[in-house]
Subunit: 215 residues, 2 copies
DNA sequence: TCAAAAGTGTTGTACATACACCCATGT
DNA sequence: ACATGGGTGTATGTACAACACTTTTGA
């Protein structure tokens, strides 16, 4: 039992909380108020208790630190090489939480003592340790490993305009698309369906809302 | 420092060592010789030392337990919920090692005391704990997350026949393909290039060898 | 000369691209 | 009436699917 000590390690879970707004992706970061890295931004995270599952710890962090009632997470990667704290090595276990549009707009409970802000994924602030690399990994995971249709269904549980979808595709895959061809492709692929509702605000002609139909 | 104890956890790395033979994928497993799960098969694995990186531990396991000089690994997932040992929870950190065809044929040093065998990925034996699920996850990762062209380049560093490639595609994506269309697509996609060499053995007409050209 | 596997060509269809004009609304 | 963004159609090219016959080898 004594030489078990050689195998003790600390872990923390880190969450890439991601929302969409007008087709643009944003990530929720917290400002660090103590040294080291005072003033830098960081992912929401918690240390993993002995015998606790990573899933449990992630959920707990989401509720108690981030303030969303959200249960679906996607594991991205594990980081054991970079040293965040000068005292000891902590293994980082990073995941993605994809918020649906309505949840992101309304439901968050702000937690006292944590200054937080949404950042566009294309314009991240200075971040603690190797966490910027973690965010890049998470976005790549979103892009390459997750099924785009399911992602859309999660982000837009009710309805969405074609403009928003196109912006999202363009941002995610980093290429401009022709509006007319994009529309044809989306409608032809049977993953969206026109509704009778229309967007109310808007400058020019009101856009129709479409429903995402997957599975 | 004392209450740090609440955060101590044990980790083990596990490796899905995968090779290809005649277009079919195989995984290397070891037979467990002690209870619990005596006689069941398991992934090569080691406990992670304090402060050791996962990458280092994985490499070490590859050399000392598996017997290949192999350096490229792809992280798949982390498992903290299932209990493999009745005594305490160990967090499993699983990765893939894709062996190139020649290495898999020749270079392995057998390690004393470990009975091992290659199993087709479609026909796994009874396995320790939740490890069969880990293998399924790894194959899905190979299928969905890794770039197929790079995978081919790794598996076949020198040359390959179109038949082998087609078998591999069919096994990985679980669908039959038309031989003529497959050939046209591969040759048109510029990822392979005909060589002057031909396969020597073979029953019927000898197949040309093709070189995989990526990047 | 036969069996076994490799190699080749044509045609129709579906999908992607490129591009220009009309429509519904708020100001 | 005009500015703003939404919505539509057509022509062309490219990629893929379906399909049957010929070639090269070993036995």
């Amino acid at each position: 039992m004594r030489d078990d000590r050689n195998y003790w390690n600390k872990l923390e879970v880190l969450i890439n909380v991601i929302k969409v707004e007008n087709g643009h992706l944003f990530i929720l970061l917290f400002k660090k108020r103590t040294e080291p890295y005072k003033g830098y931004w960081m992912l929401p995270s918690s240390l993993l208790f002995t015998d606790e599952t990573i899933e449990h710890c992630t959920l707990d962090t989401m509720i108690n630190m981030v303030g969303y009632d959200h249960k679906e997470f996607y594991h991205v990667n594990v980081y054991s090489d970079k040293i965040k704290s000068p005292v000891e090595r902590v293994i980082g276990c990073s995941s993605i939480a994809l918020l649906d549009e309505n949840k992101a707009k309304k439901e968050r409970k702000k937690i006292a003592g944590f200054e937080s802000e949404w950042f566009p994924i294309s314009d991240l602030p200075k971040m603690v340790g190797n966490q910027k690399e973690m965010v890049v990994d998470a976005i790549n995971y979103l892009r390459n490993c997750l099924n785009i249709n399911k992602v859309l269904k999660i982000l837009y549980p009710q309805y969405v305009t074609l403009k928003e979808l196109q912006t999202l595709y363009e941002e995610l895959y980093e290429q401009k698309l022709d509006r007319r061809n994009f529309r044809k492709k989306m409608l032809g692929s049977k993953i969206i369906e026109k509704t009778e509702q229309k967007r109310v605000k808007s400058n020019g002609r009101p856009a129709s809302y479409y429903k995402i139909i997957v599975e």
